[in-house]
Subunit: 279 residues, 2 copies
Amino acid sequence: MLTNPRADRVKAVRALSRRSSRERAGRFVAEGPQSVREAVRYAPADVVDLYADPAAATRHADLLAEARAHGIRVHPASSDVLAAMTETPTHQGLLAVCHIPGPGPDPLGEILASGPRVLAFLTHVRDPGNAGTVIRAADAAGVDAVLLSEGSVDVHAPKVVRSTAGSLFHLPVVTGLPVPATLDRLRDHGIHTLAADGAGSTLLPDADLRGPHAWVFGNEAWGLPPEVRARCDDVVRVPILGRAESLNLATAATVCLYASSGVGVVTSSPGSSVQFPGD
Amino acid sequence: MLTNPRADRVKAVRALSRRSSRERAGRFVAEGPQSVREAVRYAPADVVDLYADPAAATRHADLLAEARAHGIRVHPASSDVLAAMTETPTHQGLLAVCHIPGPGPDPLGEILASGPRVLAFLTHVRDPGNAGTVIRAADAAGVDAVLLSEGSVDVHAPKVVRSTAGSLFHLPVVTGLPVPATLDRLRDHGIHTLAADGAGSTLLPDADLRGPHAWVFGNEAWGLPPEVRARCDDVVRVPILGRAESLNLATAATVCLYASSGVGVVTSSPGSSVQFPGD
């Protein structure tokens, strides 16, 4: 049982809350039962070490057994050690150190080759909670992969990982993509690119979501620059019925992605006669 | 021009970041151009004082003129004073101190008398960002009023006000409501109560959203307790297509509220033949 909160091993885990340490070590941390469970279930080969305090070891005995069956090293640790390893004030007694999966030579190419129906492309998204929430919503809406542009938040930052609630381990996430070249490449592969923007001329219920398409979302504060909107096939806005100026990034993205899900939660109705304020 | 960041007046504004001070003073703070603009436009009688640093006074001269035309006192202040008044690290040079509107003898009764079509009822919601985001989404989706139960976050906390992006001034928000009595009262007024819960047996596209109805949302961590779900007319879940366990509160609420908006972004299709994972 690890009991010394000042041990080097503990400090090394704690250091992974910094981007520079993550890049140097090639590792990141998943905290709490939900994230750890999804890591063990969907990416066991990437889980390097699992730490559990006595209470969590009892409560999540099945999960620890599953981890051991995958050959993952499970380390009993005191609650103080768990607290020293994480940046959250109230840790939940479970923490996994995971490999940052090395991207193949062309991760976007792999996704395009798989014939995706819906993609989400986050460009210059900076807020960790927003990025994580969109990855979670993309998973829930059945999106095939999430792309992030260069200049976006690091998806392995603790707050992003937490906000994804395990979805980071569920679907492919490709990072560091240049915006114009990626939009061109999507189009070359027959994927319709839809910029989501409050300035869009097409209302969401009128957008053509039948074929393969990629939603393009901008920064939470300044949105999508005109040159990016111009490079997309269409610019689509979520209808606003009240006096709000807009939705925030995560909620707007969720409405768009559910519109694409085809579950009947959103209809694509070209020629809809519904009238919106401002029309 | 106010230039002393340690002046009593500055400390008094800063103190409004604490709930006890807000309750004692009956005032709260709206920060930044968007919130201040919506306060001046939609609740000018509640704006007590407006503070602007030189840069903001130049950039938002129209807004300050509009405020003065409403009889609002506009105080020039240094950027240091603005920084000392607010808890945000990067203030935007504008801040309004507003009256917390005194509720009438029966605020829920007033809303029921107005014949609402869609209501959102947040029960025991604790996270300020979630609460504010739902109020903003409710505004965008054309919801008639937002209700909050007793035991929920204070809607006048700075982080809630910021997250509403001005929507706090756009639609009626009633707070401190007891959950069971409020559900009963909604039903007595012919308002269908729909619990939003991942354990719901009715899928969102199959929910009956035609008549007046109220969405009931639970705490971000533990959801809705069984006795609250049992007291609602229906328990509805947002379809999950991928491997995610759920959506977070704000995104799930947004999908539900847009389903109710009738803009064609979500269809109500009883008897839909679409199949969902888990069906």
